[in-house]
Amino acid sequence: MSFELAMVEQLAGSTLRVSTPLLFAALAGLLCERAGVINIALEGLMLVGALAAAAAALQTGSPWAGAAGGAAAGAVLAALYALTVIRLRSNQIVAGTAMNMLAAGLTPFACKLLYGSSGATPSLELGARFGSAPIWLAWGLVLCCWAWLRFSVSGLWVRFAGENPEALDSAGISVNRVRWLAVLAGGALAGLGGASLSIFLSSSFSRNMTAGRGFMALAALIFGKWKPVPAAAACLLFGFADALQIRLQGVALWGDRPVPVQFIQILPYLVTILVLAGLVGKSRAPRALGLPFQRD
């Protein structure tokens, strides 16, 4: 009995921990997409954030400096993205994919230059890693994001930039400025998501450590109908699937042979697919999502 209770507790704690990077990334995506910019570059933004956070934490020995480094790196890559899709009005799917490829190639290269290995950074000391702070930070941000979007002046601008940019423009607010700021802030958030992978969930950056979490966050965002609290709940669901898969590894489910670990690891991705294919239902994207804004 107490063994099972402990297992539930462990599973719950683990769910909270592994859903944290997803939360940051989903909020990042939400910010961009509510402003009308598709962001499939979350994966790449997280990846550069993860490396920069590990590097900054290694350098300073402080996880907070690591987080700041991760956020800054995310914002820098996001600025490049904003430049291509807002200023140069290139296709957001293509540009986002390019950002992901750039990050996938750039991070091992930078890692090799800095630490002589393209596979991983050296391990962090315990003091250079986070305890539970990112969990609190992530959930605090969910609530802030909700209240900000719903009540604040700039939240209103972001919503209108995604829904009817012409209306916002004719009211004298620069749509592209709103979108720039949203994408930059989103980049910083995604960078924090990456940081929580490298200096919170693990103790180093490793190559391609995001493993599709950026896309999973995007799925959570759509499942959550582009709203902060439902999107956070979707992150928890995906986090739970991830925690469960970790817990089930090596457990014998049928007979005495454990299920091959590769099958167990499919679980979070399977949940993502099922959720997107079956359960999303009538989720309505911001009307101007993906459309560059230009005054006629």
């Binding site: 009540f151 700039s154 209103l156 919503r159 009817n164 916002l168 004719s170 009211a171 009538k282 006629d296």
Partner: protein, 527 residues
Amino acid sequence: MTSETPALELRGLRKRFGQIQANEDIHLRVREGSIHAIIGENGAGKSTAMKMVYGLYRPDEGRILLRGVQREWDSPSDAIAAGIGMVHQHFMLAGPYDAIENIVAGAEPEAPAWRFLPRAFRPVDRAGARARLEALSRQYGLQVDFASPVEELAVGVQQRIEILKLLYREASILILDEPTAVLTPQETTELFANLRRLRAEGKTILIITHKLKEVMALADQVTVFRAGRIVGDVARERTNVEELASMMVGRRVNLQIQAPPAPPRGEPVLEVRGLCLTPASSGERPLRELGLEVHAGEIVGIAGVEGNGQSELLQVLLHPRDYRARSQGEIRCLGRTILNPGGGERPLSTARIKALGVGVIPEDRHRQGLLLERPVAENFLLGLQGRAPFSRHGFLSGRSAREAATRALEEYDIRPRSLDVAAAGLSGGNQQKLVIAREFEGKPRLLIAAQPTRGVDVGAIEFIHRRIFRARDEGAGVLLVSSELDEILVLSDRILVIYEGRIVARFARGEASEQELGMHMGGGARA
């Protein structure tokens, strides 16, 4: 002209886009507290002039004076700050949000208790905004539901929200672009009452329109644009509809053609029974037990406010295969069953339906009727390419196509008389005449005419109407779908009113007044 300072004065405005002189020598004085109509055909330059007034374009030359003071602005928000605002034909509203947010966006009142935050992060003072808007709404008699998402409100209400948006910003000069295009006759009446009230409260109103009857009902002064210039500026009481139309077109036009007597009614050419359609997306409207018949030698007009299932009906008629899974009921056309999901027959393809003898003037000629970048000759051939004499043994006969197209240009007076100019280079009226020439080439026995004169100049309207009558007199059945009530009333031998996917009223020619039709178009519940 009086000596008082006009609210707005344009002196010698000029604007050029590439090769096209859009505006030339525009002089205009708008009296304070008046309703001033700006009329002209498509491309006459009235919109360009108004866009310069409200700050979207910068004039190449000339001056804009606001109450005698010269002003310049770079954007619509500058113009608004100076007191000039525009209600666009397509409303600038964000559907999921309520009227309050839509109105205050960009000029939000902030809750005073949150001054410690930077401005962008302060909460919007919704209560304060609401109090102010309710006061404005009372002062000007503009009834608005402030709490619902605007996409759930009627178009007339959305328009009032747009007007309130300008009043909230303290605009004193309001420009309305084709404000009645999307309204029912009842909503139009309400709008006019609202506009008169605004005038009484001292606002100056410019309305851009092409509906001359409305000009005569509402305006104090009328300015007529033609070919980028102002060709007339008259007081309403010193002119009439015929004179205004002649000024717009540059020659005498016959506005209200007399319907020739209808030939005897023949066999049914189109029968729709109990047609139901389940929408696949939120943009699509359902059809509910819709039934209608069109006989040879009659014009059946479907009246209705846009978005009540007209587009869906047309789509199902022409593309029954795409709707088989989502529809019920039966459609017979020229003796063939083209859709009958219950009967197990395979619906006919669009090409087969057209080959039965169906001509189609589509709703949106740019998207459904023409290949805009392709030359006139190819556009003429579109849909005829498989038929003799245009096709021989599977090869196109360029010569016979060009011969037929040349004849059509002549017969339908399509200008320019060139087969090689791209369809995009034709005016709206000429594009539509090209579509009609093509669809009449096969001597259709059923003509489906959707919005046949939309965006077409006054001169071409008369021509198109005559052609439709002629098709009827030669024995074709015509299904007319139009949101222009005047057009329905002139052309239709029988009128059906569509509302929320259902035919809610049926009239013979001369039986129904505009008011009566309007009441049914609005659902009839208000009667």
